[in-house]
Symmetry: C2
Subunit: 234 residues, 2 copies
């Protein structure tokens, strides 16, 4: 079966939808230290889809695992060391890349705020916010991105990753990849609400998640109110 070596076969690339949570407001001029979900995008420097916003990723080498490929791309683009990755979906549409048949193995990536600060200038964190009809809108200080501003099929990939994250935090532990090693239950709840785009009653939330966390003997030391106990992932 040497015939497999000379048939024209699809190219393979990776794309990563890397989310992070902003839990603390570095800009002290802001009154409300809200918690936002953010996604990593970069402006494409070449054709096709030049100057459109795209996901980090790239062509898969013949001796390379997709997760290594993505770590390499994210590290180049954002100097990030540790990022949780899980496979999301493999996009195979015939016309998703105008150059050739390229299938994309996409990944959902989660990193905490500390890691997310190490990004380069060509990669930008966009807040992922809700609209009235629950479609995501992406925003940074200067820009608002909606569907037509993405390159390739990357808007669809981001939407699927967001849906996966929203459903997966209901029954798994993935949310802890978005938080620092030690966190308060309020931080955890804020992250939960930022992802699900809805408020949950505090008492019920704590009953639900108390079995997933391990309390420490440390407390926050903010001024003017009761300190909060710090927890770690159990």
């Amino acid at each position: 079966m040497g015939s497999i070596y000379n048939y024209e076969h699809p190219f393979v690339c990776t794309d990563a939808v890397v989310f992070t949570i902003k839990t603390q407001e570095a800009d002290s001029y802001r009154k409300l230290p809200d918690t936002y979900l953010r996604v990593l995008l970069y402006k494409r420097p070449v054709e096709p889809y030049r100057d459109r916003w795209c996901l980090p990723g790239g062509f898969l080498n013949i001796d390379e695992m997709p997760s290594d490929n993505i770590c390499r791309k994210i590290s180049e683009k954002s100097h990030v060391d540790r990022c949780y990755l899980e496979q999301l979906y493999t996009f195979c549409d015939l016309d998703r890349d105008p150059r050739a048949r390229v299938i994309s193995i996409s990944y959902l990536g989660l990193m905490n705020e500390e890691e997310s600060k190490k990004y380069q200038s060509d990669a930008v964190w966009f807040t992922v916010q809700n609209t009235s009809d629950r479609r995501p809108v992406f925003q940074n200080k200067e820009l608002i991105i909606t569907e037509p501003d993405f390159g390739f099929d990357h808007f669809g990939i981001v939407k699927m990753a967001l849906g996966r994250l929203q459903s997966k935090i209901l029954y798994s532990n993935v949310i802890f990849h978005l938080l620092p090693l030690e966190f308060t239950l309020t931080q955890l709840q804020n992250a939960y609400e930022a992802i699900l785009w809805k408020k949950v009653p505090t008492a019920n939330f704590r009953l639900k998640i108390i079995g997933l966390v391990q309390e420490t003997d440390k407390y926050t030391s903010d001024k003017g109110h009761r300190p909060a106990k710090l927890y770690t992932k159990k």
Copy 2:
């Protein structure tokens, strides 16, 4: 960026884990018309892994969608027209094929018993049964297959597909793809139990699923006991 055209890139293939449910016992000599989960395998006629049991699938053509590729392969192998397919996972291990770097886009397939009868002689339906430690064992009239008898990484793919099916029937409607258009609630419960490898109390099961089905005005006409109402998927 013409450089993408002359780099050595991975091959792409598909693999489908097609399940069906045997709800009615054609062999009338058997006393117990038990319900079993079955999976479609075929004995590989060429190297590598010659004579090992493998999943239907094959190399993806450059202008072909994976689902079309799989339908083509299943139709060749089993003359089957309609099969529900959903993407399962893309397997990328560097050494999963000794010939070359081949990534496999795998699919979970579900078909009902009527469709499953149209298989060719080189494809065989194996029952998927439980062992004491909840590992699957595959069996037909002559053979019992366990891990070492599969080719490639196909045992791992089957295990993942089984896990996906087992978790997905708890919160979705996929189970109806395994049943005929009209079915009794007992058939539905038997299928449910055959997939999950455990018994559930009838009253609770019916309360749980009654919202997912639509009753018809038809009944079964078995002899010697009360007829059962036939339902369709809602």
